[in-house]
Symmetry: D4
Amino acid sequence: MKAQHLEALLADVAAGRLAPGAAMDRLRHLPYEDLAFARIDHHRALRQGQPEVVFCEGKTLDQVVAICERLAAASGTFLGTRATPAMAEALQRRFPGVAWNAMARTVVLAAPDVPAPTAGPVLVVSAGTSDLPVAEEAAVVAEAFGTCVERLVDVGVAGLHRLLSASDVLDRAKVVIVVAGMEGALPSVVGGLVAVPVIAVPTSVGYGAAFGGLAALLGMLNSCAAGVTVVNIDNGFGAAAAASRICRA
Amino acid sequence: MKAQHLEALLADVAAGRLAPGAAMDRLRHLPYEDLAFARIDHHRALRQGQPEVVFCEGKTLDQVVAICERLAAASGTFLGTRATPAMAEALQRRFPGVAWNAMARTVVLAAPDVPAPTAGPVLVVSAGTSDLPVAEEAAVVAEAFGTCVERLVDVGVAGLHRLLSASDVLDRAKVVIVVAGMEGALPSVVGGLVAVPVIAVPTSVGYGAAFGGLAALLGMLNSCAAGVTVVNIDNGFGAAAAASRICRA
Amino acid sequence: MKAQHLEALLADVAAGRLAPGAAMDRLRHLPYEDLAFARIDHHRALRQGQPEVVFCEGKTLDQVVAICERLAAASGTFLGTRATPAMAEALQRRFPGVAWNAMARTVVLAAPDVPAPTAGPVLVVSAGTSDLPVAEEAAVVAEAFGTCVERLVDVGVAGLHRLLSASDVLDRAKVVIVVAGMEGALPSVVGGLVAVPVIAVPTSVGYGAAFGGLAALLGMLNSCAAGVTVVNIDNGFGAAAAASRICRA
Amino acid sequence: MKAQHLEALLADVAAGRLAPGAAMDRLRHLPYEDLAFARIDHHRALRQGQPEVVFCEGKTLDQVVAICERLAAASGTFLGTRATPAMAEALQRRFPGVAWNAMARTVVLAAPDVPAPTAGPVLVVSAGTSDLPVAEEAAVVAEAFGTCVERLVDVGVAGLHRLLSASDVLDRAKVVIVVAGMEGALPSVVGGLVAVPVIAVPTSVGYGAAFGGLAALLGMLNSCAAGVTVVNIDNGFGAAAAASRICRA
Amino acid sequence: MKAQHLEALLADVAAGRLAPGAAMDRLRHLPYEDLAFARIDHHRALRQGQPEVVFCEGKTLDQVVAICERLAAASGTFLGTRATPAMAEALQRRFPGVAWNAMARTVVLAAPDVPAPTAGPVLVVSAGTSDLPVAEEAAVVAEAFGTCVERLVDVGVAGLHRLLSASDVLDRAKVVIVVAGMEGALPSVVGGLVAVPVIAVPTSVGYGAAFGGLAALLGMLNSCAAGVTVVNIDNGFGAAAAASRICRA
Amino acid sequence: MKAQHLEALLADVAAGRLAPGAAMDRLRHLPYEDLAFARIDHHRALRQGQPEVVFCEGKTLDQVVAICERLAAASGTFLGTRATPAMAEALQRRFPGVAWNAMARTVVLAAPDVPAPTAGPVLVVSAGTSDLPVAEEAAVVAEAFGTCVERLVDVGVAGLHRLLSASDVLDRAKVVIVVAGMEGALPSVVGGLVAVPVIAVPTSVGYGAAFGGLAALLGMLNSCAAGVTVVNIDNGFGAAAAASRICRA
Amino acid sequence: MKAQHLEALLADVAAGRLAPGAAMDRLRHLPYEDLAFARIDHHRALRQGQPEVVFCEGKTLDQVVAICERLAAASGTFLGTRATPAMAEALQRRFPGVAWNAMARTVVLAAPDVPAPTAGPVLVVSAGTSDLPVAEEAAVVAEAFGTCVERLVDVGVAGLHRLLSASDVLDRAKVVIVVAGMEGALPSVVGGLVAVPVIAVPTSVGYGAAFGGLAALLGMLNSCAAGVTVVNIDNGFGAAAAASRICRA
Amino acid sequence: MKAQHLEALLADVAAGRLAPGAAMDRLRHLPYEDLAFARIDHHRALRQGQPEVVFCEGKTLDQVVAICERLAAASGTFLGTRATPAMAEALQRRFPGVAWNAMARTVVLAAPDVPAPTAGPVLVVSAGTSDLPVAEEAAVVAEAFGTCVERLVDVGVAGLHRLLSASDVLDRAKVVIVVAGMEGALPSVVGGLVAVPVIAVPTSVGYGAAFGGLAALLGMLNSCAAGVTVVNIDNGFGAAAAASRICRA
């Protein structure tokens, strides 16, 4: 490890085995940033069981398996998003404990002996059934990051009663992730009902002037409800990552 | 009148004063479409008191006054939208009966002896105080077109209780015009609460990614509520014109 | 039912079986919005034979069949839009009475004993043959919603005579739905010829700078004809839903 | 109060002064949502000293003063964003205790006897000097919402050393708000350095292909760093509102 | 024919078989526009051998064949654009004389005894080999419309000498159609070299920020050369139609 | 003149005053393109009275006057577009014969003894009164380029009869320039009525989703009428330049 | 050669075999630009071993082979970009020495006896593994153009330490090509670390609001680092061509 | 200096005054990046006379003066871009040696005893007179950065002869900066004429579909000429910074 390298160097200077000028030269070329990120890695170590994440889209099956093998060897755990069924199958052959969520397109190898999650709960709210894949990605990732998750589905704003009757689950959330396509109005309504942070996820659900999620994205960015922040279109992973950071904050 | 011209021509043919071939030639070049639009004008005559409309924006004060004088001479009434205070003042000097609505930017010279409106009511709902100029334009125009108007203001979706407590006024509307900027989510919510046509008017209220009303426009076009149709950004006039047609349908 | 729950609660209070404070608590958490939408459901009940609508695009064949079975069990009727031939076949196997319109991509299970439609007529006008699928979707949906429908096809603005010779059918319409792609100019021309509401449907027909229907959409939103409102690109369903609301208004 | 109305109604039923059926009717029309939002208001009451917020842009001086007077009378405190110098001057004449921050364009009337903030700290990081007005708006609002705030300015990514040397302040933040225009790359870099939630605020700083903040907005939405969420262009207020919710979560 | 109907009507009036008032009524409902377009059709008759045009894209093979059969029966000629090989094959089976241009994607059934074209020449200039399908569509259509055509290929602006050495062919053109993708700069250069009308056709050739031809389209619309007009992306047909009108003007 | 330079050089070679190799060197560096454009200039000379054109927008008053003085000295004539009243006044002080058209924003110094124009006529059609400045620019420029001009104003598609009754003027045009804002539908309708080239000029007239003329531009590019070509938004000059080239073709 | 033609012509004039006037005529029509580009070709000849480049995308296999055969015959070398495996296979059958890089999609036939490259080095930096195809295209092209290339991969800004530890390779580069998708922030960071020209290549890597590389493109154009220039999305070839020109400058 | 701090620390360790563990802690928090950028600053020192640059737009007069005073005190030189006349006047009062270029909007305080520039020349080519401010900014900045500059103005592609006759100046350039608005075609043409790097600068010159420089930007990004790279709209400074880096490469 780099920290050990540095300690050894300083010990050499203290013992007179290395002149200060020579140490100076070596320090100048030492990849200093490793120090900085060893610190960050230390932070990561404190969060037990949080797997490294592999974005599988655009990678070959072989690449995905190779990366997951390296992660499993290093930490005993990994999380893959946007995985294909073939990738899931290959990983399950290699690691029998891998959990595959077909709707969320996730593969998870849980770390052994992970304590049950206590942070949260994160509430994942989705507007329509077509938004479920993105909502499930958010839910699976948040769980893999060690937070409790609750779900509230099919509560689009054109039928408000479905949302309003769910005040209990809304009230106990620590963070709410709201997943919606088309006009993306749901985060504004939820943002007015709760007092906790709301993370809005626009989806590419819709057609025509939905422009692949642009309409929902713009709607959410212009939300008249305070406390709403937004992630990229279809980015359930990003919402879950932010929600987990909030639950740990 | 063109109809009289045609009658005279036919009478000439019947009386032998004009050969069929010569009549054929004259008919071929007669501005036939005037016949068609005399019919449409007749429709207009049936709608008592509906004034001709002048879009004042981009016209000079002199042009606006001249056009209004011509309309007043022909029909005793006019309606101007997007008028400036100076235009209103000039018109009021010329026509003491002109009503100027500073917020709606409208000038109205009511026809004499217009019966009280019985169509409607049209309900004009607005999301925020900044949307009021567009909402008022819609309201004034709808009234000038002979429909009753009711108003519901400041009922944005981030505070649903304000809208939900107005079920009485929502229930008795024949058409609802919903005016909203920013994310433009209000028409979807209203569309889920009522069973009558909803006309959505996006406004240019907002900043940044509101892109001058584009976000609200896209949101409304992608509304998940059935029965919602949309007009141009800030087009209170167009919404009122459509609502009046609906009330007369 | 929720209304029954509330009646029972009030009866308990009246009978002294429940203290007002305890009733207060239960009322506070009662899903009040069910009351609101029971009212709306009552409205729906009044509209005999109007089927629930399933947007099939993006759903699996199994999901579509399951939803339709639930709807058929509850109401004896359903309407599906954007259905694939495979979905239609599966539904027809399950419900022999299902009508499949391949051009409109609709499946309809008509309610038994529905009276013949009397509302309307809604006139569906289309600019070119490529616009027919969207126009047919509008026509089928409007019929399923209980309105009479008439059709006027292939009357694009580059050959005005085809439209102008159809004054009879234009004159008797209660609402006109105008379906057009490319430059989307037809609603403006129709809007100048009729005195009833015009609902414009831009289609994704075209190429290059048509940008998937954007050109037609913008054209329609900027129509110089009063009384024209617009729905999303290719949204024949939405136009029909709005037209049906207008016919019932 | 509505809760009192409901209690009285139930007492009337219990006392036999009101039949259950009549109570049923009145309950059906009672603005039920007030119950829901009384609860929310109660939440607000628990957050001592948090002022109501007035978005001054697009309002007249008289409107702003009138709204602030109403807020001050109700709660002894208010916060106005996007205020003009003239608004600030008028409010300071009326309320000598008003604090005016010219760069942030905020006016604050602090509630009396507000305890010193303990939540946070929120760290507000800005890329360039032109981003300071948005950053200051975020800082002032976060403070008004009861969170401690720290600032880190002029640490754009073209000179990384300025940011990397600030590890102390980065390490102790509970939330980081990152404000940047032009290419908006700073949130990605910060997101890789810290383990807490990062809220990215694109600004309209830049020219040409910055397109009024669009370039920065898109960059932030596509951040390769996990845990970054985004608000509207120049929306310092929204970032602070979300950050405050996070600190209280 | 409608003209005959009108003549008969006038004869009836002249003969006293029809009262002027009854004639008036029938004239009011006569589809007058047929008169107008009979005139236009007469214009078409004067242009010997110009076939009707079928835009095949988005039509089924059966539809294309049916339409072409109708056209061939009426006029002995047709022109189809954007035809697939299967359409061409089917048409050639039905009409052995059909000419299929695979690059231009056109099918032409020439009218018998068409005189050799004398109008023009139209010069079709293309920037790169990938622009050839659009250029060929323009060339085939212009020939089918009765104009002489010359071609100049692969003369993109990055190698000006290829264009500059073709001054002879440039000089004798009556109209120049310039087809280019990517940055679409060629029409500006050609527009500065010739004194005749230049019709610019942007193509969808390119990638990335070409945005499907948008870059070329915008470039051509902003041409600094006077006398350049523009048609839709990939619209070789439209350019040829306009060029043919110019040659006949 | 360059041609004279070349003749002298060749004469020197013929006379032995210049060795072929030295001539070769001088030819290699001779600005050869001047030969090419001397030819073009010769073309220009043939078109009597056609002035050089100055685009005044973005130039200072002094620059405009200086350029016009140079043009007047060289050719006795100039044409300036987008001139301000101050520029017009300054030019009229300097050249009493300058004609200033305030609506078209043009300044013209006519060449002495220009024969009356015989080419054309070019018909300039405009949809609304707000389109008149662009239409007038086209008309003035076309006249300055030596073509006869006719005008048809206020014939928007929402009132077709105004256009249809103008068949005489439509029939005698050699080219039609159609100027329209908002949805830009007029060129399609005109294109279906005439057999000559139609040049469409979108204007920035409109608001909201007109997006500064983009809606009209896209509509015109997607015109379903053959023979329509398009120029830049508000580019009356460009349309006139192309129309004049067509009339001379 | 054209230069020889000119020499012969001048010799004829000197010898009296050609009159100056006749020479004048022939010179006027001589493709003068060939002189200009013979000079440019000479420049190309000076750059030993630089192959002509074939953009294979959108060309048929036969076209690609034919073009490459012509190039190989003329110069013994060629370079093809965006080649398919089938193209590579066909070319390798025809030219056994062809090198196929599957990731870069390039085919190279090296010129015989090309000296080892001495220019550069060009450093190609890529942000993520998905950016590698574009980065490799840049690297292969730069090598084919005769410059030394070094590579630095997977150094995205969310993990700065990977970049900062590579100061050696950064320091010795003569030009840096930075390839990145998503938010495209890497060129700004690199631009702040080096003192040499930086060429930024946005890639289409990403999803949602990446809009096919638009986000990265806008980010790079707005880079706050001086000395960064940008090429088209995914244009590794263009970056390498520019880098090679810089190394030779 | 930081390097001195590090040397002192190592000396302390060597001397036993500081334990290795304590040194380890201090090193961990030492702002390591200052080492990295001290190196970069050293690079800057090697480039004699290159001033620091102040982007004045959006800064107050006082801010600009204060920053320039600090720069002058540190280095005896500064360069300000986008300065207003008032800023220039204030700076000239404070520093009599300041050179103000009104067209380029630059203020330069030259370092004393700067040797005459030897790098380059950079050739700045501009398409039209309206592009001159951006071109001049590029020229002034390049000179301030120590490179020789040549200028070629008003050589737009619609009159190619003006460019082609300037082969001498094109041939001797080491880098060419091409500044153009409207369709932005000039860089493609120049890129085909020279063998050195071309930096394209789109300008916001134009109107309508120029969209503030977007058309020129897209055109340049899609240039068919190899070796062209692009900077932001109107970014003359950025082009000069890159060109200077190239000249020093």
